[in-house]
């Protein structure tokens, strides 16, 4: 129970920070915001990594490896495409 309350605390605070920051993102950057936050949601990658421990059931490792691949698409693709887009947003020279 104690552990759950702690996790919920972290969750609520993170959502609050998220709202505070994201409302300040200007509409012109909404597409990079989506692709960049998408890359962040690839954080599942660390969950995928620890599913592949050698003493785990084989099926868990297989699921874990697929999850690593899925999450890596998100992380690598998400950060790269966001960088590509943001690079194009230039001010007046």
């Amino acid at each position: 129970m104690h552990e759950l309350v702690q996790a919920v605390t972290v969750f609520v605070l993170a959502v609050y920070i998220g709202f505070e920051i994201i409302t300040k993102v200007p509409p012109t950057l909404h597409t990079p915001l989506m692709s960049g936050s998408n890359a962040i949601s690839g954080i599942t990658l660390i969950g995928a990594v620890i599913s592949t421990r050698v003493d785990n059931p084989k099926l868990a490792t297989i699921l874990g490896v697929c999850a690593v691949a899925f999450a890596m698409v998100n992380v690598v693709g998400g950060y790269m495409v966001t960088h590509r887009m943001l690079d194009m947003f230039k001010g007046k020279r």
Binding site: E3, F11, A14, G18, F19, I21, V25, P26, P27, T28, L29, H30, T31, P32, L33, M34, S35, G36, S37, N38, A39, I40, S41, G42, T44, G47, A48, V49, I50, S51, R53, V54, N56, P57, A60, L63, G64, V65, A67, V68, A69, F70, A71, M72, V73, V75, V76, G77, G78, Y79, V81, T82, H83, R84, M85, L86, D87, M88, F89, K90
Partner: protein, 461 residues
């Protein structure tokens, strides 16, 4: 689980990663700091992953295999994608995020001996949200890439079907909680949610896509959060929540920009109302067609020009031609700005990215609420491939399906030039009296071709 280093250091690294994610998002609040913000966020991700790789007993060969495959797919996709294809790309990536959560929660469930109620509920929710995100995003991708028809698709009894499947999935979460050994219940949840993702997304058509992508974006974050509750891992909870919050805010902005509630986008129908005026009544021989030469003369004598782009500009890939036109006009001392409606295009900020690709400086892009009060000072407004977002009916006819939707008031400019293939209606399916207004000229044709002709006419005057 043990690590090669003290667990305290691992958790500290996760805190640092979370701070980097938050600062990275903060960087996105201004175009100048955005590139650095994205890099900070990427460093945070790298840190979190490297530390996790220090866990004891990992199967590195398998991890490497998955990482190389996924990384290569992501890198190639990111490098090759056209800016006009960004909506479908983001939809697809959302889906992968949801899919990863399903798999991780499934694996965690196999590993955990004797899970408590909290873990099983989190596992069930992770599978549920993840699977809805996965299949919903795939459908959104297929629709946006036009592999599947973009219009709304439905069948009789769809809402009841969805309710039954959804409740069934929730019942399985309950089953899992009562009997954590029932692995099959988890996969039933995933299958049911997968079906639900499809049936919830197929009835959503064209111009409502910005809402759906934003919502799926939010789900992909919430799925990661649920996985965080399964593994009791703070960085997953924090990162997932940030994404969840971001998606929800974007969803809200998109709904507000269409004056529709989220429930009406997801479950309602949106189409031409039978009692609205017909196209013949609205247009009735009052539509004036114009030529590129005539428009070139008009623009020549203008001091202030506003370009209002819509999805049609993306389809015609006309953003570079628009920029060429602006360059020609700016060389003659004309002030050229761009009025961007929040839901123009197929995802939030779609037009901004296209114009940024064409080297339009972000200072020239004006938001709807910002430009509307100045509309009377605009000499020529060029509407390029936009329709519903400039339809004055939204202001004037309370019976219209788009009544109350905030629009860019282009009809208040001195002269309006609409570049469009035909008089065909937009997504709302209603005629647009703007096209027949006294101050409107229609330049019929493909956006890019028409503008190229206009540009060569501009060079001649």
């Amino acid at each position: 689980m043990t690590f090669l280093i003290d667990i305290g250091w691992v958790n500290l690294a996760y805190v640092a990663a979370s701070i980097l994610f938050i600062s990275g998002l903060k960087g996105l609040t201004h175009p100048r700091t955005a590139v650095r913000g994205n890099l900070m966020s990427a460093v945070g991700m790298l840190l979190a992953v490297v530390v996790t790789l220090l866990a004891n007993g990992l199967d590195y060969q398998w991890i490497l295999l998955g990482a190389v495959i996924g990384g290569a797919i992501g890198a190639v996709a990111a490098a090759r994608v056209q800016m006009t294809q960004m909506p479908e790309m983001v939809a697809l990536f959302n889906g992968f995020g949801g899919g990863a959560s399903v798999l991780v929660a499934g694996a965690a469930f196999l590993i955990t001996a004797d899970p408590n109620a909290q873990t099983t509920i989190a596992t069930g929710l992770s599978g549920l949200i993840g699977a809805v995100t996965f299949t919903g995003s795939l459908i959104a991708f297929l629709k946006l890439a036009e592999i599947m028809p973009g219009r709304a698709i439905g069948f009789p009894g769809m809402k009841i079907f969805n309710a039954v499947v959804g409740l069934g999935a929730l019942a399985c979460v309950g089953w899992l909680t009562v009997d954590p050994s029932a692995t099959v219940a988890y996969w039933i949840i995933v299958a049911a949610a997968g079906v639900l993702g499809v049936t919830l997304t197929i009835p959503i058509g064209g111009a409502d896509m910005p809402v759906v992508i934003s919502l799926l974006n939010s789900y992909s974050g919430l799925a990661a959060t649920a996985t965080g509750f399964v593994l009791m891992n703070n960085v997953l909870i924090i990162a997932g929540s940030l994404v969840g919050a971001s998606g929800i805010i974007l969803t809200k902005i998109m709904c507000k920009a269409m004056n529709r509630s989220l429930t009406s986008v997801l479950f309602g129908t949106f189409g031409p109302s039978a009692d609205g005026p017909s196209a013949d009544v609205v247009y009735g021989g009052r539509v004036k067609s114009t030529s590129p030469e005539e428009v070139a003369m008009l623009l020549e004598n203008a001091q202030r020009v506003l370009v209002v782009p819509g999805y049609g500009m993306a389809v015609a890939q006309a953003q570079h031609t628009v920029r060429d036109m602006a360059n020609l006009l700016e060389a003659r001392g004309v002030l050229v700005e761009y009025g961007i409606h929040p839901v123009a295009g197929r995802m939030p900020g779609h037009m901004n990215v296209l114009l940024a690709e064409a080297d339009v400086p972000y200072e020239s892009l004006r938001e709807m609420d910002d430009i509307n009060p100045e509309m009377e000072q605009v000499d020529v407004c060029m509407v390029i491939g936009a329709n519903d977002v400039v339809n004055p009916v939204a202001r004037t006819d309370p019976q219209s399906p788009i009544a109350g939707m905030p629009i860019i008031d282009v009809d208040k400019a001195r002269t309006v030039v609409v570049v469009k293939r035909s008089l065909s209606p937009g997504f709302a399916g209603i005629p647009n009296p703007l096209f027949a207004a006294d101050n409107t000229l229609m330049m019929f044709g493909d956006g890019k071709k028409a503008l190229q002709e206009l540009n060569s006419a501009l060079k001649d005057v």
